[in-house]
């Protein structure tokens, strides 16, 4: 294997991992506040189509990214209104959000199928980006890649080192105790859910503006669900989520390039890899029930009503 090949693989892994990392980090914060939003796939798709539409209308990729984040937040707000204000079942509402997002995105995306679009431009750093090998691997990416990487320590610092982060975690562990201390449980959960929506929207934008700059129905192909599984895999720790996302990036790339490497395996078997790998890591990590219990937010998925 030539160094050029290895550099190309590393670049590809980064691009495949970025949407998983973005969506996963958002969901991690949401879940830390005790809210389980299974609508990641739907929010990603709405973000992807909205980002694409905005970028092709304005010609500006960054506008697309912003619109995608806002749309992700809007769909998350719908989820939050149902689950936090109207106290609906979080699992069922999350499923509804995914079904709705899939339908809405294909409805809105109809005119954009097959339309070409310029890829989100890389942030060229003069000098560094032109270095051989290291340049493209480390310094040749677009803004969203760096945003996703910067978000990992930022989220970890916020959750573990700041007072608002502590309050957010307390809301996820025991909303009753947090409520008794006077913290606005519902408002905090709204904020955490909206953050998750914005990050899912960004993940969608990355898919339709950078990963494959086009819109196709259902283009997330289960990545939202993989991101949900990665949060469990990471035992709700941002650093481990980074590891998991890049591991899965590698699996996704393996699936794309195995045939190029001369492996005579039908494409369908290779396409199964990410899904089977998801099941495998879930089993590996969940096997240790104590570990999940110690790390999972204690109130996750439960309805909180101050009177009851």
């Amino acid at each position: 294997m030539s160094p050029d090949f290895i550099a190309a693989v590393l670049v590809a892994v980064t691009t495949a991992a970025t949407p998983l990392l973005l969506a996963g980090l958002g969901e991690l914060v949401t879940e830390k506040a005790g809210v389980l939003n299974l609508g990641v796939e739907g929010m990603m798709l709405v973000g992807a189509v909205g980002g694409f539409a905005a970028a092709s209308a304005t010609g500006s990729g960054l506008t697309g990214v912003g619109v995608a984040a806002l749309l992700g937040m809007a769909t998350a707000a719908l989820f939050a209104f149902l689950t936090l204000t109207l106290l609906s079942n979080q699992v069922a509402t999350g499923l509804a959000l995914t079904i709705f997002g899939v339908g809405l995105s294909s409805l809105l995306g109809k005119p954009y199928i097959g339309m070409p679009l310029d890829r989100l431009p890389p942030l060229n750093i003069p000098g560094l980006s032109d270095l051989p090998l290291v340049g493209p691997v480390l310094f040749g990416h677009d803004a969203l890649v760096y945003l996703s990487l910067a978000a990992v320590p930022a989220v970890a610092w916020f959750l573990m080192r700041t007072r608002p982060g502590l309050i957010l975690r307390s809301v996820g562990e025991s909303p009753e105790a947090a409520h008794a201390l006077g913290h606005p449980v519902i408002a905090i959960r709204y904020a955490a859910t909206l953050f998750g929506g914005a990050m899912s929207g960004l993940a969608g934008a990355y898919l339709s503006l950078a990963y494959t700059p086009m819109w196709a129905e259902n283009m997330s192909a289960g990545r939202g669900w993989i991101a949900l599984a990665l949060v469990v895999f990471a035992t709700w720790k941002p650093g481990r989520l980074l590891l998991g996302a890049y591991l899965f990036g590698l699996v996704l790339i393996l699936q794309l390039h195995a045939q190029g490497l001369g492996l005579a395996v039908p494409s369908q078997w290779l396409s199964m890899l990410p899904y089977l790998a998801t099941i495998a890591v879930l089993v590996l990590i969940s096997r240790d029930a104590t570990r999940i219990r110690l790390n999972a937010p204690a109130s996750i998925g439960k309805v909180f009503h101050p009177d009851t």
Binding site: A92, I99, W225, L228, V232, Q268, V283
Partner: protein
């Protein structure tokens, strides 16, 4: 003045029955806004969507043809949902049922009358086997069944795609990714000439009756309800939680497999890369809309089936994207979940500062 939610002592039965029709009504209103936003005449669109398909025999037959798999899947899922077992991989179990049942038909093209019963058993067994994987992973390794059953759906669809592109492709099929047609003995007979209404509809009726007996008359149904509403109480009463997880998933998977078999041995007649327009996922909506009760699932299934047919009609008549059906289905579930709050809570107006009991 502000709105306040007050927990009811017991869920309101009246609201439980009133909210699904209210949700349907709200969906119609939101749907006409959506149609208007897309630049179509809302009344004309709603007519094409919900009424026109029912104005001829073919449309009514289609209602039953599309309602049957939704109802069969939803009855199976509702049993799991009652026990808080979230099998959302019915689409994969349905696909596996189609593969196993269809595989039998392809392997035995000269079989006699007994072929169809064997296919039905193979289809249900295939769906059960596929659902047994998440059941095993959940009970043995504590792995979340929501994620594993969903991932297995993608895998099942890929297996079907591999089979019809490869080993099971019809050699005389002009290279289309389709299997050979099933022999006549492997087809569900058409019940109503001039429509596609087939004997699979009778399977749906049988499933609804069996499901109704299970939830209302059987001890197992009671155990499932207790496990869902009060897991701790179920534990103290000695109901074995793992057994209920297994049963919920096996029943859900077996019925989804049956629905898949009904599709390939009914309207389709062969194996193709796509054997279902997402019935397994949409059945989740049907289960909730039917209040997780087999008798409620029947009208819910027919209504959602109508949204599929309506989606096709507005596509042909008005050139609207067929995805509009999915938007309707999602909205329906949103409105239903939103109105559910009225079942468990009372809405009260309070003035600031007023003491509430």
């Amino acid at each position: 003045m502000r709105l306040r939610l007050e927990a009811r002592g017991a869920p309101s039965a009246a609201m439980a029955w009133a909210t699904p029709p209210a949700a349907v009504l709200a969906t119609l209103v939101a749907g006409s806004v959506l149609f208007a936003g897309l630049g179509f005449d809302p009344l004309q669109s709603l007519y094409s969507f919900f009424i026109q398909p029912l104005t001829n025999a073919y449309g009514i037959g289609e209602l039953a043809v599309k309602g049957a798999p939704l109802i069969i899947c939803a009855v199976g899922l509702s049993i799991g949902f009652r026990a808080n077992v979230w099998n959302i991989g019915a689409e994969g179990q349905l696909t596996m049922g189609a593969i196993c049942g269809g595989g039998v038909a392809l392997a035995l093209p000269d079989a006699g009358w007994w072929l169809l019963p064997v296919m039905v058993v193979a289809g249900a067994a295939g769906g059960m086997a596929w659902a047994a994987i998440p059941a095993f992973l959940r009970t043995r390794f504590n792995a979340n069944e929501i994620l594993t059953s969903l991932m297995l759906s993608y895998v099942a669809v890929l297996i079907l795609s591999y089979l019809v592109h490869g080993p099971w492709r019809d050699p005389a099929g002009f290279n289309f990714p389709e299997s050979a047609m099933f022999p006549d003995t492997g087809m569900l007979p058409v019940l109503w000439e001039g429509t596609r209404l087939h004997a699979g509809v009778l399977l749906a009726v049988a499933v609804v009756l069996a499901g109704w007996l299970l939830v209302s008359r059987a001890f197992l149904g009671f155990q499932i309800a207790v496990a869902g509403m009060a897991p701790a109480a179920a534990g103290y009463a000695g109901f074995r939680g793992k057994r209920l997880i297994w049963l919920s998933l096996l029943i859900g998977g077996g019925l989804a497999g049956l629905a898949g078999l009904g599709e390939v041995a009914g309207p389709i007649g062969q194996l193709r890369p796509t054997v279902s327009p997402g019935y397994g996922f949409t059945a989740i909506i049907v289960a909730f809309l039917g209040r997780l009760h087999p008798l409620g699932i029947v009208p819910a299934g027919l209504l959602v089936a109508l949204s599929y047919i309506g989606g096709e009609t507005v596509q042909i008549e008005l050139g609207m994207p067929v995805a509009v059906a999915g938007v309707f289905q999602g909205m329906l579930l949103f409105f239903l979940l939103a109105s559910d709050v009225l079942v468990r809570y009372r809405v009260r107006l309070t003035r600031p500062g007023e003491l509430v009991a």
